[in-house]
Symmetry: C2
Subunit: 320 residues, 2 copies
Amino acid sequence: MTTIRDVARQAEVGVATVSRFLNGGYISDEKKSRVLRAIHELDFRINEVARSLSTGRSKAVGLVIPDLNNPFFPGIIHGVEETCENAGVMVMLAHTAEREDRVEAVINNLIQRGVDGLISASGLENPSSVSVPLVMLDRVNGTSAVDSVRTDHVQGGMIATRYLLSKGHRDILFLSGPLQNTGASLRLQGYRQMMEDAGFRPQWIEGKRFDFAEGYAIALECLKQGETSAIFAGNDLMALGVVRAAMEMGLQIPGDLSVIGYDGIDLSAHTTPSLTTVAQPMYELGKQAATMVLFRAYEESKRVCERVELTPKLLIRGTA
Amino acid sequence: MTTIRDVARQAEVGVATVSRFLNGGYISDEKKSRVLRAIHELDFRINEVARSLSTGRSKAVGLVIPDLNNPFFPGIIHGVEETCENAGVMVMLAHTAEREDRVEAVINNLIQRGVDGLISASGLENPSSVSVPLVMLDRVNGTSAVDSVRTDHVQGGMIATRYLLSKGHRDILFLSGPLQNTGASLRLQGYRQMMEDAGFRPQWIEGKRFDFAEGYAIALECLKQGETSAIFAGNDLMALGVVRAAMEMGLQIPGDLSVIGYDGIDLSAHTTPSLTTVAQPMYELGKQAATMVLFRAYEESKRVCERVELTPKLLIRGTA
DNA sequence: TATGTGTGTGGAACCGGTTCCATATTTAGA
DNA sequence: TCTAAATATGGAACCGGTTCCACACACATA
């Protein structure tokens, strides 16, 4: 591996001059071209590890994702990456595979490897103990003062419920995801408030996971009783499970049963029938989170915690 | 930030002793416990950046993924991560968003940041110029001598075709993905060979992308002519597009048209009807690739290029 | 002529680890 | 009892960058 000392020797200048060439600073045109030539002749590539150690900055941020199987996340990742790429910052993607016990280890690992900031979509028990700028994405621990970006899930819950009510439904079941997930419990809150304001009885079941199988299993169970005319599912994957269960029971959608999902994943537009859903602005969520963490890491780390809430949007399609 | 020099001072030992405590080497029980105590008292965390610079190893490998929206990749990522985690190696995930021009930059970046090895599922124009151990995953550049892992796509193409033939189809259309993708062209090869051996005329259309919209658009187009009794799609997403198009045209599946996909993504089991497909062993692909790169990076980098091909498996479900 | 100020340059110290080497001290074997 | 090997320890050099500092020169100002 060639180092800046090799380059300095080849160009017959001091190492400080090479470093100034790389980073800016006083350097004459003559030496500039000698260094440039030496770099090409030796095929010099800067060692970012050494640079990080020396400067204490890595020009990299960590992005922690709980579950890559959930198509909700790629859109977010895309937003984070484009924003960081424009700022010349690398994204180190890590994923915790929904294992809560791994989150802390993964974050420590990223910090030990020198990231300048962190975005986490995985829940943390103690966010304030993290020693670099941190932005929580989607999953927000209600109590602690941490920068965060998420969709306004209360509003999202209300939008879905209002739409179903406007279609004349009154026996609306909310099939939530795990309620320890902040998003899920806020959607429940929006749903309850809307139902109560309208004078109907809210009714909900808590699913253990946010996936297809869970939606399918619970729907099979509770559609047997046959009181329900509409189901508001915790996310799109669960909604697809519900649709499948209903179809297998011979129910017409949306004739016998209306279904509405949440998230607005790409796939939901492509199923048959296509899924009516409340879409989160995924790319925007990622972009916002990245903008915030870059600001904290490189501009101003002043600790006045900021909470951003973006607005969800109803996508009217074929299931409600 | 506390350093090993702080720890050494606190424990009243030399820095070399602290380092030996961390990495193994001669150290007495007494000093061991003094160092351990000091580490806890000062909440010392090792700086991996400094360690990497000093040792020339980072205990990290890079994983380059072309497209996180394609559910084919999460299974692979999972296999890579579990294998690396067991070896105490971190995975740095980078994705190139299907932009060929970014691949080289992303890989250079990872190398400059000190990864000990690389797994790439994105195509490279010149794999042999990469200066760390490299394993190509799925996309294999036919000519150059590089370690690689992939599914036996010729066999995969034959399996799908043989199954459709066995069901009595003879007007089987192969709707391939982009043929510059090695996998796609190998599947075509398997398909052609099987059709010709059976004495039927192979017929194919090349899609520009491996996604739902492409499958949908092409199917709409060529189902109008109505010669085709079965379609073998380039991957599951395209197959779902085909199914959707056929349903919208009022065709019964599998009555009027049989469809078979490729990949075996989770989702394919959950659509209505569920998708008959040729499954790739995604977790195993990731596991194999990781095992190989770990071996090259930490055991034996001897350059006798190894090519592993895993066997695909037919999943008979509801569309054929 | 003396005194700045803006450019330009290179040596050496520093970032926080690892490891070589010199130097004990203990234990085993002849 | 003497020597060799195993065990234990700390100082200092090193990894490859950045940056402080000392120094040199040109030109402008008083």
